[in-house]
């Protein structure tokens, strides 16, 4: 259960990852190895370090110890193969721009410094908007979109990154049931194309229906494996203490 079957190059291999704020550990000695084509949920209570884990993998915050390998190399080398969807609340939706422009930002990594996005990039962005059912809102100012629509725009932006490994920080937060279903459908589609998708999630009820693998986190890695094997009473108790409603039901 601790390690998936050995594969030559894993999309994500994390060893002994430790992150601390002022000597207070937020993530402590976390190991994980994720196989290609996995749809993995990271779950755990508030403050468990779920977002921190993603940010540390992407080199956005300093780590106290540990190593992150993306397709066998450091993240800095593999940037173009990795897509990232930050939390929707982390950006300013009053920014003067429209949906299509935000999606085009997903191409910036491939363009590099100084290069301007061209027609091909905008066409890709338009296709991605179509894919998430947002084509008619392409020219809509982003503050005029609902929470679910904003999340779809973010997802479209990740799609044009055309990555092999995706990190998504709470893509279901603040979206309606219909949007949630269409998002998970897209994620499953990505997986069936052999992409690896890592999602911070906090609804234990839908875990089994949506994902095939799951990492239970609470500063330490409690468990990692197929959802069924991870969601044991004992594991949940170790992660959530007595706080999980799911435990009682």
């Amino acid at each position: 259960m601790t390690k998936p079957s050995p594969s030559p190059i894993l999309p994500l291999e994390v060893t002994d990852l430790t992150v601390a704020y002022h000597e207070k550990p937020v993530l402590w000695d976390v190991d994980c190895a994720i196989d290609e084509g996995t749809l993995l949920a990271i779950v755990g209570p508030n403050g468990a370090g779920k977002s921190t884990f993603i940010k540390a993998c992407l080199g956005l915050i300093p780590t106290a110890a540990g190593r992150v390998k993306v397709f066998g190399k450091t993240y800095a080398v593999q940037r173009k193969r990795v897509g990232y969807v930050p939390q929707r609340e982390s950006v300013d939706w009053d920014f003067p721009t429209h949906a299509l422009d935000v999606v085009t930002m997903g191409r910036y990594g491939h363009l590099g410094w100084f290069m301007r996005p061209g027609k091909t990039d905008r066409d890709m962005a338009m296709d991605a908007l179509e894919k998430v059912g947002m084509a008619e809102f392409a020219r809509r100012q982003i503050s005029q979109l609902s929470g679910g629509q904003q999340q779809r725009v973010f997802l479209a932006r990740a799609l044009v990154q055309d990555a092999d490994l995706y990190f998504m920080d709470e893509p279901f937060s603040g979206v309606d049931a219909a949007t949630e279903r269409s998002i998970i459908q897209l994620l499953q589609e990505l997986r069936s194309k052999g992409k690896t998708v890592i999602v911070v999630h906090h609804d234990l009820q839908t875990l089994k229906e949506y994902f095939d693998w799951c990492m239970l986190l609470n500063v330490r890695r409690i468990a990692l494996g197929p959802v069924d094997e991870v969601l044991t009473k004992e594991n949940l108790h170790r992660a959530y203490g007595g706080r999980s409603a799911f435990l009682r039901s």
Partner: protein, 367 residues
Amino acid sequence: MIFDIILIACIVAAACSMPGVFLVLRRLSLQSDAISHSVLFGIVISFFLVKNFHSPLLMIGAAATGVLTVMLSEVLLKTKLVKEDASIGLVFPALFSIGVILISKYAGDIHLDTDAVLTGEIALAPFDRFVVRGVDLGPRSAWSMGLIAGVNFLFLLGFFKELKLSTFDAGLAASLGFRPHLLHYGLMIMVSITAVGAFDSVGSILVVALMIVPAATAYLLTDSLAVMIALSIGVGVVSAATGVIVAFSLDTSISGTMAVVCGLFFAVALFFSPRYGMVSKMIVARDRKWVFACYTLGVHLLHHEGTPEEEQESHVRHLQDDLKWAPKYAKKVVASGIRNGLLLKTGNHLRLTPLGKETVRSLMNRG
């Protein structure tokens, strides 16, 4: 001479409004206030080193002080003993006051007095000419500010995509390798150099007005970053030119009048911006109120249509008795419903038109 002053004012305003756009979008307006004050420290120190007001070293000193201000604020913030606003508020008065003390103590006989530091002296700027081999090429500050405006423009042009992404979503920018922290410092250096250049003309307080107000005005008028930059420059230049002319005819402070005209432009945008102005928001809110009342009435009529109570429920008086609407209000709602083709009134009875029924049905399905 007034043309020289207008020229200088316009160039200063254009140079200031460019970094202003990103300061406003990054919620760093106060940081510009901090930098424009603390650069005084850099100017004074550099002046003591080279004894020349036109040395490029002054710019380097100012840029270094700007970066120092930002870094010191960050160091204070990282101690977690002060909050962000306080960390800014602690650093710049310290540097500014050291600058003021140094001027009053050691620079009594040079053209750096504490009044000019606050509001500048643009009226004197045309007297300082840029002369090359005996040829007068115009006011020196027009050239130096023109250079700064040009550099600012090239910076925005060259890093447009990078600045946009790191301002909107610093997390993604960093994950893509765009170094948002470096861009942040680049922007702060740009603000510092612009502040020093504009110092002579408009002083350290009004330079903040020229940076922030045009950008804040442009922000209310457009949904596109490129247009916002263009509008910001436009508002800055027009208010600078107008400000100089008004100040001359009223014989008042030039820089003060420039800032006031800027403020007037902002006030106009605040009230009358087509999309985000207060007036159009009020109109939208008012319309929405009537539309909602109309729909409420429509749902009520549809609900009782074809039932035995229809006769009673559709009576105009019913609106007062059971919907508890004031007679005047009820009358207005009915009038607006009829005007929009949703309602028909025969005698004292109300009916939905086919369009009214369709509208109400689709509304109920959506809910």
